[in-house]
Amino acid sequence: MKIKYFGEIADITGQTAEVIVFQENSLETLLGYLKKNYQLSENDFYLAINHQLADTTQNIQIAGTDEVAILSPFAGG
């Protein structure tokens, strides 16, 4: 699964993208990975799957071929 990081999230993860092979591709696995590796909780970011913002409170499917983006609102101006 390709994961892209934007804005402050990329500063937290220390990279703008990475490819991770999960044993099981699911929202739960992805959220668990972000929490464990970067201490990112669901309240810290928004998640897009294949450039479509996803509602993480819903049961959403993620495939290994999907491109996931982790982003957040920007404050500056």
Binding site: K4, F6, G7, E8, T16, N43, D44, F45, Y46, A48, H51, Q52, L53, A69, L71, S72, P73, F74, A75, G76, G77
Partner: protein, 347 residues
């Protein structure tokens, strides 16, 4: 209209005389005369947009000058809105520019927005963006958003002809996010974001091209990558005038030392909560029973609300306000503090 000044854009088939007249009739309010405002304003004005409002309560600081290019060292300490308005009026004397030397608040947002066709979000805080969004929903105005984080920026137009809003994209504010002052920014990044905003304004007014609706454009200026993230409309019916008032307008607060002697004290705590207070002209109606017990609250004298910490009294304030009580105040002090100074009131 000075046709000659705008002849090069009138020459575009997508503009023409009809388009130029649309620009001339347009009324655009720019909220924020910082980095984004300085980028978007000269191009809105130069295109011939007939009426422009500039809202900013901030003063010009030396650290602004690298990206806020309308300002110079001669104007340090002066109002950003007024100086920007003066400079643009000299350069573009045919358009009407109104400066507002104040910050956007829940008190001024709705009245201001009603005077314009479109709002530009050129602010630098997430809270201001939610305020703009909610005021635009209430006043049914579209707004063009841009925001920056270091070398990246986001742009979209929200609430345009039924399109999604900022809350459809980002329902809640993140736990923390940095402004340009904290994170740092290059002048070119903020200028590019501002020009994307100006371009979105032109497309909206001229009704040409595809608007950045229901999709946010995220540009990374280091890689030159453009990313579009689409989002769905969410029900925003709850963002109505009453929600706006409850969320953004300040409540009338008064110290118990300054209350009217003929006032009525309303304790909205539950009966079992301590300390028990013995106040003259008072009654206890728990917040959960307020709707049922309203007839016990006088309308012809000031009503002073309190609870244990001030949260429930604020809630009660809005319940009563919406039910027709006008002379309402939340007490600055709540039960624990009132208990301490009770003897003074009874005296």
């Amino acid at each position: 209209m000075n046709e000659k000044r705008h002849i090069r854009q009138i020459a575009l088939p997508q503009v023409g005389i009809v388009g130029q007249e649309k620009l001339e009739r347009a009324r655009v309010l720019v909220v924020g005369a910082g980095g984004l405002g300085n980028a978007v304003l000269p191009y809105l004005a130069s295109s011939g947009i007939g009426t422009i409002g500039i809202l900013d309560g901030d003063k010009i600081d030396l650290t602004n000058l690298h990206r806020q290019v309308l300002f110079s060292e001669l104007e340090l300490g002066k109002s950003k809105a007024i100086v920007a308005s003066q400079k643009l009026s000299i350069q573009f004397p045919e358009i009407a520019i109104t400066p507002y030397d104040s910050f956007l608040t829940g008190e001024n947002a709705l009245d201001l927005f009603l005077n314009y066709d479109l709002v530009i979000d050129a602010t630098d805080s997430i809270d201001a963006r939610y305020l703009i969004n909610d005021a635009c929903i209430v006043t049914k105005k579209p707004f063009v958003h841009a925001s920056i984080y270091r070398f990246q920026f986001q742009v979209a137009i929200f609430n345009a002809k039924g399109s999604g809003t900022y809350r459809c994209l980002y329902p809640n504010a993140p736990s923390s996010s940095q402004s340009c002052e904290e994170a740092g920014v290059m002048p070119s990044t903020v200028a590019m974001a501002g020009l994307y905003q100006a371009n979105e304004v032109f497309k909206y007014i001229l009704q040409v091209g595809d608007l950045q609706t229901n999709s946010i454009l995220l540009v990374d200026t280091l890689s030159n990558n453009h990313n579009h993230f689409s989002f769905k409309n969410r029900n925003q019916e709850h963002i109505n005038p009453s929600f706006f008032e409850r969320t953004y307008k300040s409540i009338l607060q008064i110290s118990i030392n300054d209350v009217d002697k003929n006032g009525f004290f309303l304790d909205v705590r539950n009966e079992e909560e301590l300390p028990i207070l013995e106040l003259e002209n008072s009654r206890q109606i728990p917040i959960s029973l307020l709707q049922k017990g309203m007839e016990l609250i006088p309308k012809n004298q000031p009503v002073y609300l309190f609870c244990q910490s001030g949260i429930r009294s604020r809630k009660a304030y809005w319940i009563l306000k919406e039910s027709g009580w006008a002379n309402l105040h939340c007490l600055a002090e709540n039960a624990p503090e009132i208990s301490e100074i009770q003897h003074r009131i009874l005296r």
